[in-house]
């Protein structure tokens, strides 16, 4: 059985080729679609007897249907948000069935990015559960002729204690469905002490499917009559096909045809890249055919891009005055007084996502409408781009969301989904487009290459009296506006404009950088390079001042206070400041706690070993990390231990949260050890795991200890905030162990081996 949905007992037909021993593909075919109706809104929750919310339905057999409207890529949002519903409903988790939503704006935002699924949907989930619970209580009270205030719920039942009566949710569903849906003000939410699941957590709803190979990812989607496609994209962004010869490709057994795809009109946004597709009876034949296309390219203006020269340009930019994004006091005046001035340049190259599941999508164009199945973080954007590419209404695009074999932000950009739809229209059959690993590495939306120039003057006790930081990186906004060269507030805010130090003179600047590849969000995004520069520079200053790095860091964070962003464009990750103020006391607390947990200053570190510390707030969560490294005589780096403390407000699923922070340390390990994408003449040099290595089992932290601060603050981000402080703390630990400063990532450039 698929984990995506249980194929419904009503309404839906099962789809897909079912070959010997194959899975039943749990995707829904909508009979309405082919009859020309509008987009259907058919979930089992919608059709359940009691369905007071788009997210929830209850049937007379007691089954509770909960709709997961966010994509599942390993963070457990597909489990954790339904847990909130189930808790507020007082439902038995074993009787909950989770359905994956199709793209549909009635669920609100579905772009599963920015570590905000819990933050943005916690209230909606609670409300859904509380609404149904309210109606079930009302129904029971009416049946028993008692005041509703005398009734309460226990696991999956309404109870009237004084008369010792109980009624199950299933048996109450019909009566409850006849009652008006209560307004939010009428709802009574459970007391924290009564929570069953929130704060305790659950393993993934899909766990068994994940370990038995039954889970359905985009790569596993199949439908009747589908063909496979592999696309040769222009090697340089914006390039075009001059000519190609399909003769040899068509000789490959299984190859059916070749199909040119038009180049995109800038800006690239989420449009397919263009190129030539090979259509075949199986994936391998399509791959083989592609090798024989003999394409001649017009590379266009980005052919001038060379990442080595570009690095120098970025650095020069940061050595000149840029746009001021935040200013306190007068740093220039302070510097001009003279004193102990320290400067450092930091650099992080382009980074690729390299999700384990390469990009893949299946789409069928039929009768002017498209049905797509894709591992997408952003199904509504997939609808949008498909409708634009094919010139059909958005309502005529159904986008099913499969499980995602990793996302990390890459799968928020649905260029590959649109590619499948475009090809299906040209071929007249369902098309599954499969990107190779080489395609995935070469045609990414890369995390921006970034240069950071840091300057500080140290006063009494080594504390900075003036601080200047200047960055340059091609902005993500460049994919939507070819003229965009400056960092935008949404990315400058990520650990740059919000440097939390208590400094009398501070100037923060950003310089221009033109993009020559597609730039996009990657787990933690701009926080990666910003935290790297600030937290490593802090460590450098601590050593320059002859102070303990922990002490020094705490000194710079200063006394607990709320940062005032008056006059600063600081979007706070889209969250209101009253609910999510920037509180330095919380950063201080996680820093002090991680020092304690890691035994900072108490454990002995011999030759070639050392520890590093860093603290950072991102996606509204406060995290501090201590990394311990060992470097042997051959220069090989081991990471015996990582301690990390997080304050993410209310944590719904602690177990999944620990897993995310363990994973963040591994993700950060890849960035520090080997993460680097380069380009020559506009084309990406890397292609697969031999030249874009990611961390393997022996290279990662042997043990990552994750500590969660118990907090009443509203929920904040989990998936991303672990990466930035890890990266910086790891680099600081390498210095502690070797005396070598990491200013250019990755450390392959450090010459340790």
């Amino acid at each position: 059985m698929s984990t995506m949905e249980n194929v419904s007992r009503r309404r839906f037909l099962t789809g897909g080729i079912i070959a010997a021993g194959a899975l039943v593909l749990g995707v829904r075919y909508y009979s309405k679609l082919s009859s020309g109706d509008k987009l259907p809104h058919d979930t089992n929750a919608d059709h359940a007897t009691l369905h007071p919310s788009v997210y929830l339905g209850i049937d007379p057999d007691g089954t509770v249907w909960i709709v997961a409207s966010r994509s599942e890529m390993g963070t457990t949002s597909r489990t954790t948000l339904p847990l909130v519903v189930a808790d507020e409903l007082d439902a038995d988790w074993k009787r909950v069935k989770i359905e994956q939503a199709i793209a549909d704006k009635r669920y609100g935002d579905q772009n599963t990015d920015g570590s905000h699924s819990i933050r943005s949907f916690y209230d909606a989930m609670r409300q859904a559960g509380a609404t149904a619970r309210f109606m079930l209580i009302q129904a029971a009270a009416q049946q028993w002729g008692v005041p509703a205030t005398e009734c309460e719920t226990d696991l999956h039942v309404v109870v009237h204690r004084s008369t010792n009566r109980t009624a199950g949710y299933g048996e109450l569903a019909s009566a409850a469905a006849k009652l008006p849906v209560p307004k939010r003000e009428e709802l009574k939410f459970k007391a924290r002490s009564a929570w069953r699941y929130v704060g305790k957590g659950e393993v993934s709803y899909d766990l068994e499917a994940l370990v038995t190979g039954k889970a359905v990812y985009g790569m596993d989607a199949r439908v009747d009559g589908m063909v496979y496609a592999s696309v040769e994209h222009p090697p340089v962004l914006g390039g075009k096909v001059k000519s190609y010869d399909e003769k040899e490709a068509l000789k490959v057994a299984g190859v059916r045809q070749t199909v040119p795809i038009d180049p995109f009109q800038p800006p690239a946004a989420f449009q397919p890249l263009g190129g030539v597709a090979v259509i075949a009876d199986n994936t391998w034949a399509a791959f083989q055919g592609r090798k024989k296309l003999n394409i001649s390219w017009d590379n266009g203006p980005n052919e001038s891009y060379d990442s080595d020269a570009y690095k120098n340009e970025l650095r020069e930019t940061t050595h000149k005055p840029g746009k001021v994004v935040r200013n306190i006091g007068d740093a220039d005046a302070a510097f001009s007084k003279g004193g102990k001035v320290y400067e450092a340049d930091y650099y992080v190259p382009l980074l690729a996502h390299a999700t384990m599941e390469p990009l893949v999508a299946l789409a069928e164009f039929k009768d002017g409408k498209v049905t797509a199945w894709a591992p997408t973080q952003n199904p509504q954007a997939a609808q949008d781009i498909i409708s634009k590419e094919l010139g059909i209404a958005k309502e005529d695009v159904i986008c099913h969301v499969t499980l995602l074999g990793g996302g990390f932000g890459r799968k928020s950009k649905p260029d590959y989904v649109a590619e499948a739809a475009v090809l299906s229209k040209k071929v007249g059959r369902p098309v599954k487009v499969v990107w190779t690993r080489e395609d995935d590495i070469k045609f990414d939306y890369y995390n921006a290459v970034a240069a950071m120039y840091m300057k500080a003057m140290l006063g009494a006790n080594g504390k900075p009296t003036a601080w200047l930081q200047r960055s340059a990186f091609p902005p993500i906004t460049s994919i939507f506006d070819v003229n965009a060269v400056y960092g935008d507030p949404n990315h400058l805010q990520q650990g740059w404009t919000d440097i939390p130090y208590d400094l009398p003179n501070l100037r923060i600047e950003n310089g221009p950088a033109k993009a020559h590849v597609r730039i996009g969000w990657l787990r933690s995004v701009a926080n990666i390079y910003h935290a790297f520069a600030i937290q490593c520079f802090t460590d450098e200053l601590a050593h320059a001042a002859g102070r303990d790095p922990l002490d020094y860091l705490l000194d710079l964070i200063g006394n607990p206070r709320t940062i005032d962003f008056k006059g600063v464009d600081y979007p706070n990750y889209g969250a209101p400041f009253d609910a999510y103020p920037w509180e330095t006391g919380r950063l201080r607390h996680v820093t002090e706690l991680v020092a304690e947990k890691s035994g900072w200053g108490k454990r002995k570190h011999g030759k070639g070993t050392g520890v590093g510390i860093a603290a950072h707030r991102s996606f509204l969560s406060y995290v501090a990390t201590v990394v311990e490294v060992e470097v042997n005589d051959q220069g090989e780096v081991r990471i015996p231990r990582v301690d990390t403390v997080l304050d993410a407000g209310l944590v719904v699923n602690p177990e999944a949260t620990r897993a995310q922070f363990e994973g963040a340390a591994v993700f950060g390990t890849s960035i520090v050890r080997t993460g680097e994408i380069t380009a020559t003449k506009g084309a990406i040099n890397q292609s697969n795991f031999q030249d874009y290595p990611v961390a393997r089992i022996g290279e990662v932290p042997y043990q990552t200890n994750v500590y969660i601060v118990d907090s009443d603050a509203p929920p904040a981000g989990i998936g991303e905030p672990g990466v930035p402080p890890f990266v910086a703390a790891f680099c600081n630990a390498i210095y502690a162990a070797t005396g070598k400063r990491v200013r250019d990532l990755p450390i392959t450039k450090l010459g340790l081996t």
Binding site: T283, G405, G407, A659
Partner: protein, 151 residues
């Protein structure tokens, strides 16, 4: 015509003998548990057992499977869950899960040849299997848990 056994059933293949086993399993037999990750034997997502040995099916061509017994995740255990799968659940290993089938097949082969692998032996055996979510710490713990179970 190539004859082989897949999960105990005899299969005949008359297609391109250079086709990698992975694509035969996935596209022809629709056994989609084994995953495509890199296509060149660098990530381990496609790991299956060929005559009991952990093998990268993406670089094993059909010609070389003649007369062999192939076991995929779908056939790893016909009676409930394999001890390695149970351990994976007990330790809550998967995040996105995409690589985990390959990890499990690799771990099962390791434990078949080595009842109580050391940390070093686990790292050696598992170093060809990439997990981008970063579940390695739990993978190691789960292998140890399964090792206790199977001993």
């Amino acid at each position: 015509m190539i004859q082989l056994k897949v999960n105990g059933a005899v299969q005949s293949f008359d297609g391109e003998p250079e086709m990698p086993l992975l694509w035969y399993l996935r596209d022809v037999l629709a056994l989609t548990g084994s995953k495509f990750g890199c296509g060149v034997g660098l990530c381990g997502a496609c790991t299956v057992h060929v005559n009991g040995q952990a093998t990268r099916s993406c670089v094993t061509v059909m010609r070389d499977t003649a007369g062999k017994e192939v076991t995929t995740i779908e056939g790893l255990e016909t009676n409930g869950l394999h001890p390695v799968q149970k351990a994976w659940m007990q330790i809550n290993v998967p995040q996105c899960g995409y690589c985990q089938v390959g990890q499990i097949m690799q771990a099962a082969a390791l434990l078949n040849s080595k009842k109580k692998p050391s940390d070093h032996e686990i790292d050696e055996a598992m170093s060809g299997n990439i997990c981008r979510c970063g579940t390695y710490q739990r993978i190691r713990a789960a292998i140890k848990a399964a090792s206790g179970e199977m001993a």
